[in-house]
Amino acid sequence: MSVTREEVRKIARLAELDVDEETLPVLTEQMSRILEFVAQIGAVPATETAKPFVPGPDAVRFRPDEVRPWPLAFGPSELAPAFRSGFFLVPKLGQFEQEG
């Protein structure tokens, strides 16, 4: 399954990832090669099935619905690139306003 440069651009937009035009040809070629390689799972008949596999405990363990304090060494204000009055600061939401 090959992908085109335009498809890679579209997927990059979905993944919120800038891809520069210089690397696009190599990236497209490598993605095509990876997708061709993984597509070989299609060779196994879809009728061949097994019980769905889920790793980990057989059942979800429910916990009491209560707030459990988890003390952190420091708060989000020290982690975030920009933080003020309890909020993370980001540039304007221009793109979303236009799309909305």
Binding site: L17, A46, E48, A50, P57, L79, P81
Partner: protein
């Protein structure tokens, strides 16, 4: 060891050894910071702990309070976690000393530790080769004798493959044996913290300490810590399966010879060895490279320059901020996998790729169940098709790199415990043999490894 003076001496000696091993680019912690922290930790360590004074190097995708956690990525450069991983907390409670953070492929994505934003790590015996990956830094430090044990993590063989390349022991426990709290997520249904040791005993006792229930990880089974088995006199009563699919015609001849010798030794130890079949093995790597990138594309969505990590500024709006930060912050392999993951989950391709891969995962897990249901206790295979490869050899061909994981990804897909131990050498390069056990029966796997380790001439060329 129970004397604080000995712990302090152990800390200083470990710091000296790690600094001397600097040429390997295996440790990401600056020397001065490492020395100061190890001294402080030795002074505060619990003398009654079973690992008192033992230095343990920790892969840089496992959160620590003492050191930064960058995951080998520019997007987390300088990041300090506000909490530590449960495995790290358990190590410290047992008196161990966290001996700095180790180099790795970015977010665990790679098989050579060449995909690190902080430069490639070197093989401890041959600087032109790779130490394996993604936990190559921990493996190289243990193999170089800088630390007796290290933590790594596995999503698809990232402990066993470098253990095999570096000639040490690497154990990946059953999914759910060790808490994932504080392990930076890559592929959540596959990720497990694993251990490296210079001997089976060193690795097993560290695993025993970090295992067990944790209310902070709902996928961690509510079980007690792993109990260490004793070293057995023989392997009488063990049935060991040898899956034919793991011995393809193109297997490196030296690897085949080392495995044949190990199988002969297992028989001499009293084990019954029989050939078995795991018919869907050839589809494991393709299934893995759909499921793991799909999960990664979701897990790595959080790195956007808003809540933590560096921000690559200059964006006119928030969407541009996300795209620029992620485009600049992720390296080429992570970008590739995020894109592949997004593609296989996208409308029109989900059924052809992701759903089929999940079906394949179920078939691979069923293959193992079928073999174990027929009375086989353990499986023995080569860990890797070849010894450590040359640096740069597979960098331009992602699929060739992925295929070096062919014998290790199956245990991650099926959630089973597996380990690699040295079974020989070729031209001085180590060769690893793999044992795969049944879920939560690590004790049986370790018992067999103890027995094999005692008799196999691991340092001899085959």
């Amino acid at each position: 060891m129970s004397d604080p003076g000995e712990a302090l001496a152990s800390a200083k000696a470990a710091a000296d050894r790690i600094v001397r091993a600097k040429r390997l680019n295996a440790s990401l912690t600056p020397s001065k910071e490492l020395r100061q922290s190890l001294t402080r930790q030795a002074q505060a360590a619990h003398p009654s702990g079973v690992l008192y004074g033992m230095p343990v190097a920790v892969k840089d995708n496992i959160c620590t309070l003492e050191f930064t956690t960058t995951c080998g990525s520019k997007i987390l450069e300088g990041y300090r976690s506000p909490y530590e991983a449960t495995a790290v907390a358990k190590l410290k409670a047992a008196g161990a000393l966290i001996a700095g953070k180790t180099n790795c492929d970015e977010f665990g994505m790679g098989s050579s530790t060449e995909h690190s934003a902080y430069g490639r790590a070197l093989h401890p015996f041959d600087k032109t080769r790779v130490p394996g990956g993604s936990s190559g830094g921990s493996a190289a430090l243990v193999a170089a004798g800088a630390v007796p044990a290290g933590l790594g993590s596995e999503t698809g063989g990232s402990v066993r493959q470098p253990a095999s390349f570096c000639g040490i022991v690497g154990i990946k426990p059953t999914y759910g044996r060790v808490s994932r709290s504080g392990l930076v997520a890559f592929g959540s249904s596959l990720d497990q913290i694993g251990v490296f040791g210079r001997s089976v005993h060193d690795a097993a006792r560290v695993l025993s300490v970090i295992s067990g229930r944790d209310p902070r990880d709902s996928t961690c089974e509510a079980r007690d810590s792993l109990r260490l088995p004793t070293v057995p006199e023989s392997l009488q009563g063990f049935v060991i399966g040898v899956p034919k699919e793991y011995f393809p015609p193109d297997l490196a001849p030296a690897v085949r010879r080392a495995c044949d010798r190990a199988i002969r030794l297992l028989k001499e130890l009293g084990a019954a060895v029989r050939e078995v079949s795991l018919p869907h093995t050839q589809y494991a790597v393709p299934a893995y490279y759909i499921i793991a990138p799909a999960e990664a594309s979701s897990n790595l969505a959080r790195y956007d320059g808003a809540r933590y990590g560096p921000r690559f500024d200059g964006a006119v709006d928030v969407g541009a901020l996300y795209r620029t930060t992620r485009g600049e912050g992720f390296g080429p392999e992570v970008r590739r996998r995020v894109l592949v993951g997004t593609y296989v989950l996208s409308s029109g391709y989900y059924d052809a790729y992701y759903r089929r891969a999940q079906q394949m995962r179920a078939l691979i897990a069923q293959d193992f169940r079928n073999v174990f249901d027929r009375g086989v206790d353990l499986l023995f295979t080569p860990t890797t098709p070849t010894p450590a490869f040359k640096a740069g050899e597979k960098l331009d061909d992602p699929v060739a790199m992925y295929l070096s994981d062919i014998f290790v990804v199956t245990a991650n897909l099926a959630g089973l415990p597996a380990m690699s131990l040295p079974i020989g050498r070729v031209k001085g390069l180590p060769i690893g043999g793999q044992l795969i056990g049944q879920a939560f029966l690590e004790d049986e796997m370790i018992e067999a490894a103890y027995a094999l380790e005692r008799v196999v001439p691991a340092a001899e060329d085959t």
